[in-house]
C-alpha cells in the first residue's frame, strides 16, 4: 500500500496540524494510523494513503453538519447505537430499494452495519447476489474497522469476505475489490440529514 507523509497529507488536504491532531484526539482518526518511521532528518509520520485520504474527505464533508461526537458515531467501530427505519434507509442514495427490501424482510429497523451491508450489495449487484447471503448474520460484524473483500475463485464465482485490513487470501482467489466499512458509513452519513 502506498504511503504518504504527514506534510504531504496537510498539503493535499489543506488541513492544519490543529485539525489533524484534534481529530486524532477525539478518535476520528485512530492512533494506529499514525505510523512513525525513521528518516535521515529524524522521525517522520506516515499514513496509508488509501486509509487516510477517504477518512479526511469524510470528516471534512461532515464537519459542518455534525458534531465531532456524531461523526465519531459513523466512523468509530464502537459507536453503533443509532437505529434507522426502512423509510429513512430507502432515501439514501446508493441504496437500492429492492436490495433493501430483500435484506430487511423481517427487520423493523436497521443498524448502521445493516445499512453498510445493503449499500455494498446495492453497488455490486453484478458480482454479488444478496439472495445467497440471506442466511448470514451480519450482526457478527462487530466493527467498522473491517473491510469488504470481493473475491473470485478459479471457477469465476464471486464471494464476499469480511475481514481485517491485512487479510491474506489463498492465491487461488483474486481480490476484485477491497473497501473499508468505515468508508461506506461515511458516505451514508453524508446522505443523511
Amino acid at each position: 500500500m502506498e504511503m504518504i507523509s504527514k506534510k504531504e497529507l496537510l498539503q493535499i488536504t489543506q488541513i492544519s496540524y490543529g485539525q489533524l491532531y484534534r481529530w486524532k484526539r477525539e478518535g476520528l482518526i485512530p492512533d494506529e494510523w499514525f505510523i512513525r518511521q525513521s528518516v535521515a532528518s529524524g522521525q517522520e509520520t506516515y499514513f496509508y494513503k488509501e486509509q487516510i485520504l477517504p477518512r479526511i474527505e469524510t470528516i471534512l464533508s461532515l464537519k459542518d453538519r455534525y458534531s465531532h461526537e456524531e461523526i465519531k458515531q459513523f466512523l468509530n467501530p464502537n459507536a453503533k447505537d443509532r437505529r434507522f427505519t426502512i423509510s429513512e434507509a430507502v432515501l439514501i442514495k446508493g441504496i437500492d430499494p429492492f436490495i433493501l427490501r430483500i435484506y430487511a424482510q423481517e427487520k423493523s429497523d436497521l443498524t448502521l452495519y445493516d445499512l453498510v451491508v445493503v449499500y455494498f450489495f446495492s453497488n455490486n449487484q453484478t458480482l454479488l447476489d444478496i439472495n445467497n447471503y440471506l442466511s448470514v448474520d451480519f450482526k457478527q460484524i462487530a466493527s467498522l474497522d473491517q473491510f469488504f473483500y470481493l473475491v473470485k475463485d478459479y471457477s469465476g464465482k464471486t464471494y464476499l469476505i469480511i475481514a481485517g485490513e491485512d487479510a491474506v487470501f489463498d492465491p487461488q482467489l483474486t481480490v476484485l475489490k477491497k473497501q473499508a466499512l468505515s468508508d461506506i458509513s461515511g458516505l451514508i452519513a453524508q446522505e443523511l440529514k
Partner: protein
C-alpha cells in the same frame, strides 16, 4: 456516581467517580474515570486517567496515559506515556514521555521535557522566577497551527504561524504562512513549507 476524597494520606482503587480530590498525598491504584480530578499536595496514578477536568496544585505523576478536557497545573505534572486534552494551562513543569496532544496549550516553565508536542495553539513562556537561569524546556518536536515559544530547545518545530522567541535553540523550523524569529534565538535551518 461516587465521590472520593482523601485528606492526609491514602490510596484510591480504580473505578468511575464523579469527583476525586486529594489533599495531602495519594496513590491511585487502578484506571480512573471521573468528572473532576484535583490534587493539592502530591499524587501518583499507576494506571490510565480519563477525566473532564484535571487540577493540580503541587505535583502529580501518572505511570500511563492522561486524557482530559481541561487541565490546570500549578506545580508539576509528569506523564510517562501520552497526555491529551482540549486545553491545558501549566505553570511549573511538565514531563511527557511520548506525545502531548493538546489543542490549546499554554506552558510557563523552564524545565519541562516533552517528547512530542502536538496541537492547534502552542504557547511556551519562560518561568520568570528563575533569574539568570539558562535552563531550557526540552521538546524534541513541536507541531501545531500557531506556535509561540521561548526558551525551548528542540529538534524540529513545525507550524503555520511560528514565532520563535528569545532563548530558543532549534535545529529545524518549518513554517507555512508566517515566521517571526527573535535575535536571541538560534536556529540551524528554516524551511518554508509548500
Amino acid at each position: 456516581m461516587n465521590d472520593c476524597k482523601i485528606y492526609g494520606a491514602g490510596a484510591v482503587s480504580g473505578g468511575t467517580y464523579r469527583e476525586v480530590s486529594i489533599a495531602g498525598s495519594g496513590k491511585i491504584k487502578g484506571e480512573i474515570t471521573a468528572e473532576s480530578f484535583s490534587v493539592s499536595g502530591s499524587a501518583k496514578a499507576l494506571d490510565n486517567l480519563d477525566v473532564k477536568t484535571l487540577k493540580v496544585s503541587g505535583s502529580f505523576s501518572a505511570e500511563k496515559n492522561v486524557k482530559a478536557e481541561d487541565i490546570k497545573i500549578a506545580g508539576s505534572l509528569a506523564v510517562k506515556e501520552n497526555l491529551s486534552s482540549a486545553k491545558a494551562h501549566i505553570s511549573g513543569s511538565l514531563k511527557v514521555g511520548k506525545e502531548a496532544n493538546v489543542d490549546d496549550f499554554f506552558l510557563k516553565s523552564s524545565n519541562s521535557e516533552i517528547a512530542a508536542l502536538h496541537g492547534d495553539n502552542v504557547t511556551i513562556k519562560r518561568e520568570m522566577a528563575i533569574f539568570f537561569s539558562k535552563k531550557h524546556n526540552l521538546i524534541e518536536e513541536i507541531e501545531a497551527t500557531t506556535i509561540d515559544i521561548e526558551y525551548v530547545k528542540a529538534k524540529r518545530v513545525s507550524g503555520d504561524n511560528v514565532t520563535i522567541g528569545q532563548g530558543c535553540i532549534i535545529d529545524t523550523v518549518e513554517y507555512r504562512d508566517k515566521i517571526t524569529v527573535s535575535k536571541e534565538a538560534k536556529i540551524d535551518n528554516i524551511v518554508k513549507l509548500g
